[in-house]
C-alpha cells in the first residue's frame, strides 16, 4: 500500500481533478451526488497522501534524496520542461496537511452550503482548487508549480466571486486576481531568468546548479532573481504591500475562506520560498528582504486587526499577520520553524474560520462582532472549539500555536535580528489581544436579544471538533524536547536548538497579557463604554487603523486615475492620431487628390475625344518619328 502510494503520488492531485470533471460534466444536476463525488475525491487523495507521507517519514533516505517521477511536458532545442511529482519530507508534509484540512472543510461545506443554488458548482470549484493546490505542493518543476500557482489563483478568483451577483464579491474577486497577477509578473520574470541562466526549472537540478552559481552568473544577478521570485509570494501570501486583496477575499463562502484564504493557498508563497530555499540561501540580501517583509507585515496587519469589526476581516488580517511570521522565519533562515508554523496555523486558522462560518450561519450572515455576544451558551461546540483556536493562535501551551510561534521567536533572536524580534514579540501580544477581543465580543458577555442563534448541524461541528483536536495536539510533533519536526523538515542541516526558556516564558506572558487586556476591555461588561472612550481619545490612530492605513484608497486612486487615465489617453491617441490623422488622413488625402483631378473631367464627350485624339497623335508621332526603342516602350514587352 505504502509503496503503491509513493510510486503513484500523482494520484494525489489527480483524484480531485477527476472529481472536478465528473461534477462539471455529469453530476451537476444532483447537488448531493456532486458533494459526495468531491468528498470522495479529496478523501481518496488524503488517503494516498497519508500513505505516501507515512512512507516518506519512515525512510530516512528521503532526507537526502527526493523521489521524483517526471515526464517530458514539452521541449525544443534549448528549452525542456518536465512535469512530475517530487516526494520529499516537505512536499509529503504539505500534501498531507492540505488534503487533511481540505477533507474536513469539504465535509463542513456540505452543511454550510446546503440549499445554495450553486451547490454543485461550489464543489466543482473547490475540487479544482484542491487538485491545483496539491499539484503545487507536489510538483517537481518550477514552471509546473507556476501553473498550479496560477490555477489556485483562478479558483480563488472563482470562489471569492462565488456570489457573483453581489458587486462587492465581483470586485473583490477581480482585485484578488489582479493583485496576484502583479506579483506573478515578478515571479514569472524570476522563473524566466532562472531558465535563461541555469537552463532548467527542475527543482532538483536547480538546487544542484545554484549551489555552484558562480559558474553561471554573478551574485548580483542571482540576488535580482531571488527578489523577483519573492515578489510572487508577496502577492500570493498577502504580504505588504500587496496584502490588500486578502481581507476583501472574505466575500467568498466561509469554507473557502478557511480552505483557501487561511490554511492552504495563501501559504503557498511561504511554501514556494521554502521550496526555492536553495536560491535564497545563496543570497543573504534577499533573505533580509524576506525577513523584513515578514516581520513588518506581521506587525502591520496585527495593528489593523485590532480595530476591525467584521468577524472574518479580523481573521483575515490575522492570517496576513501570521503569514508574516512564517516569512520572518524563512528570512532568518529557519525553514523548519516557518513550515512548522504553517502546519499549526492551518489547523487553528481553519478551525477559527469554520467557527466563524458556523456563527455567521447561525446569525444569518450578520458579521459585526459588536452585534454578537454570549453565543457560547447557544452554540457550545462552536464556541469552545473557537476558544481552543484562540488559545492556539495566542500561543498558550500546550496548544499548537505556542510551539511554532515560540520557535520562530527563538530563531529570530538566535539569528541576531533584534529589531525584528521585538516586532515579532509585540505582534504576539497584539495577536492574543485582538483574537480574544473577537472571542469575548462574540461568545461571551451579554446576549444580543435580536439574535436567535442555534448550534450548527453535526456535519459542520464534527470538522470543527476534528480541527480543534489537531489544534491542540498538532504542535506536539515539534516541541523542543521531542523535535521530530526539525529532524525531517529542514534546509541544509537539521537544527536542534536548545530550548530557550526565556523566550518561552516571555511569549506566554505576552499572550496572557494580551488575553487579560482583552478580557478587561471587552468582557467586563461595563468596560465596553471605556473602549468607546478610548477609541475616541485616540481618534486619529483609530481612524487610520480602522481604514487600514488608507492603502486600499491609494491603490484605488492609482488604478482609477493613473491607469485608466493613461488608458484613455492611449485610446484617444489611437482614434485621433493614429486613426484620425494618419490613417483617415491618408484616406482624405487620396480623396482630396481625386477631387482635384475631378476638375479636369468635364464629363463632356467631345472634350474627352479631343484629348483622346491628342493622345493618339502623340503615340503616332512617337511611333513614326523615333527609333524602335521608344516604340517598344509603348508597345510593351521589355526584353
Amino acid at each position: 500500500m505504502v509503496e503503491f502510494a509513493m510510486h503513484h503520488a500523482w494520484l494525489v492531485p489527480l483524484l480531485p481533478a477527476l472529481a472536478f470533471l465528473a461534477i462539471v460534466f455529469f453530476t451537476r444536476p444532483w447537488p448531493m451526488l456532486s458533494a459526495l463525488v468531491a468528498v470522495a475525491g479529496i478523501v481518496g487523495s488524503f488517503i494516498v497522501s497519508a500513505l505516501a507521507a507515512y512512507g516518506v517519514f519512515t525512510n530516512p533516505a528521503f532526507k537526502e534524496e527526493p523521489l521524483v517521477y517526471a515526464v517530458r511536458w514539452f521541449s525544443m532545442p534549448g528549452l525542456q520542461i518536465d512535469v512530475g511529482v517530487q516526494l520529499d519530507p516537505v512536499s509529503a508534509m504539505m500534501i498531507f496537511m492540505v488534503s487533511m484540512v481540505a477533507s474536513l472543510i469539504f465535509i463542513y461545506a456540505i452543511g454550510y452550503m446546503k440549499g445554495d443554488p450553486g451547490f454543485s458548482v461550489f464543489f466543482s470549484y473547490v475540487s479544482l482548487f484542491a487538485a491545483s493546490m496539491l499539484l503545487l505542493a507536489i510538483s517537481s518543476n518550477l514552471l509546473e508549480m507556476f501553473v498550479a500557482w496560477e490555477l489556485v489563483g483562478l479558483c480563488s478568483y472563482l470562489l471569492i466571486g462565488f456570489y457573483s451577483h453581489k458587486i462587492s464579491a465581483r470586485e473583490a474577486a477581480k482585485k484578488a486576481f489582479i493583485t496576484c497577477r502583479i506579483a506573478d509578473f515578478g515571479l514569472l520574470l524570476g522563473l524566466l531568468s532562472l531558465q535563461i541562466v541555469f537552463g532548467t526549472l527542475n527543482l532538483v537540478e536547480l538546487s544542484e546548479k545554484i549551489a555552484h552559481f558562480e559558474q553561471y552568473t554573478t551574485l548580483a544577478v542571482l540576488s535580482l532573481i531571488a527578489v523577483l521570485v519573492f515578489i510572487g509570494p508577496i502577492g500570493k501570501s498577502g504580504q505588504f504591500p500587496l496584502h490588500v486583496w486578502l481581507p476583501d477575499a472574505m466575500e467568498g463562502p466561509t469554507p473557502v475562506s478557511a480552505l483557501i484564504h487561511a490554511a492552504t493557498m495563501v501559504v503557498a508563497g511561504v511554501y514556494l520560498v521554502a521550496r526555492t530555499m536553495f536560491l535564497f540561501h545563496e543570497v543573504p540580501n534577499a533573505m533580509e528582504l524576506v525577513a523584513i517583509t515578514g516581520g513588518f507585515t506581521a506587525l502591520f496587519a496585527a495593528t489593523i486587526a485590532v480595530t476591525q469589526r467584521e468577524i472574518k476581516r479580523i481573521l483575515a488580517y490575522s492570517t496576513v499577520s501570521q503569514i508574516g511570521y512564517m516569512m520572518l522565519a524563512l528570512g532568518v533562515g529557519s525553514m523548519t520553524a516557518s513550515l512548522f508554523h504553517m502546519w499549526t496555523h492551518a489547523f487553528f486558522k481553519a478551525l477559527m474560520f469554520l467557527g466563524a462560518g458556523s456563527v455567521l450561519h447561525a446569525l444569518h450572515h450578520k458579521a459585526d462582532v459588536w452585534e454578537m455576544g454570549g453565543l457560547i451558551k447557544k452554540m457550545p461546540i462552536t464556541g469552545w472549539t473557537f476558544v481552543i483556536g484562540g488559545l492556539a493562535i495566542a500561543g498558550i501551551p500546550p496548544f499548537a500555536g505556542f510551539w511554532s510561534k515560540d520557535e520562530i521567536l527563538a530563531m529570530t533572536l538566535e539569528s541576531g535580528h533584534y529589531v525584528l524580534f521585538v516586532m515579532a514579540a509585540f505582534t504576539a501580544f497584539l495577536t492574543a489581544f485582538y483574537m480574544w477581543r473577537l472571542i469575548f465580543l462574540t461568545f461571551f458577555g451579554d446576549e444580543n436579544p435580536e439574535n436567535h442563534p442555534h448550534e450548527s448541524p453535526a456535519v459542520m461541528t464534527l470538522p470543527l471538533i476534528g480541527l480543534a483536536i489537531l489544534s491542540t495536539v498538532g504542535g506536539l510533533v515539534g516541541t523542543p524536547w521531542a523535535p521530530y519536526w526539525s529532524e525531517w523538515i529542514f534546509f541544509g542541516h537539521p537544527h536542534h536548538g536548545e530550548p530557550n526558556y526565556w523566550v518561552m516564558i516571555g511569549s506566554i506572558v505576552l499572550a496572557a497579557a494580551g488575553i487579560y487586556l482583552a478580557y478587561q476591555l471587552y468582557c467586563v461588561d461595563k468596560a465596553r463604554a471605556k473602549v468607546k472612550a478610548l477609541a475616541e481619545r485616540y481618534n486619529h490612530i483609530y481612524t487610520i487603523l480602522y481604514n487600514k492605513y488608507y492603502i486600499d484608497e491609494i491603490y484605488l486612486w492609482f488604478n482609477h486615475t493613473i491607469i485608466d487615465g493613461a488608458a484613455k489617453l492611449f485610446y484617444l491617441f489611437d482614434i485621433y492620431v493614429v486613426d484620425g490623422v494618419i490613417v483617415n488622413g491618408l484616406g482624405a488625402l487620396t480623396c482630396l487628390f481625386g477631387e482635384g483631378l475631378r476638375v479636369s473631367n468635364t464629363g463632356r464627350l467631345q472634350n474627352y475625344a479631343l484629348v483622346f485624339f491628342l493622345g493618339v497623335l502623340a503615340v503616332v508621332v512617337l511611333l513614326a518619328f523615333t527609333g524602335p526603342s521608344a516604340a517598344s516602350l509603348i508597345v510593351g514587352g521589355v526584353k
Binding site: 467631345q606 472634350n607 491628342l614 497623335l617 508621332v621 513614326a624
Partner: protein, 172 residues
Amino acid sequence: MEGIWMTAAFYLLAAIILGSALLVVLLKNIVHSVLWLAVCFVAMAGLFLTLDADFLAAVQVLVYAGAVCIMVVFGIMLIQRGDMGSTNLFNNQTKAAAGVVALVLAVCGYLAATTPWASPAAAVPENTVESIAEIMLSKYVIPFEVAAILLLVALVGAIFLAKEVKADARND
C-alpha cells in the same frame, strides 16, 4: 489614254467631296448639312469608281447616300421641330478642335507624302463582284456572318432604345 480623264475626274470628285464635307460641317441648318452629306456620299461613290471598285460604289450609293442619309433625316424629323435655322452650331472648343485637326492633318499629310509606297504590281481584275463574293463567302464567311448578326443586334437594339416608354409603365 484615259489618264487625263482620270486625273480630271479625281480632282473634280475630290473638290466635290471636300466642298460638300466642309458645307456639312459649316452650315447652320442641320437639314442642309445632311443634304450636303448625301452629295458627299455620291461623290465618294464616284471616287470609288475611279479606284476600280464598282461594287463598292454601288453599295456606297445604296447604303450611304440612300439609307443612312434618309435615316438621319428621319431622325432629325423626330427630334427637331420648328425653326431649323440654327440647329447646327459650333460649341466653345472650336479653336482647340481646329488646332488638333491641324496637327492631325499635318502629321497625316507628312506621313502620306513621305512614305515610299510600293508601286502597283498588277491591274485590278474586271469582275470585282465575283472576286469579292468569292473571298467573302469562303475565307471571310465568319466575319460575314458576324456582320449579319451585328446588323440584327443593331436592329433590335435600335428598336429597343427608340421605343416609346409608356408613361405609366415605370418611368413615373
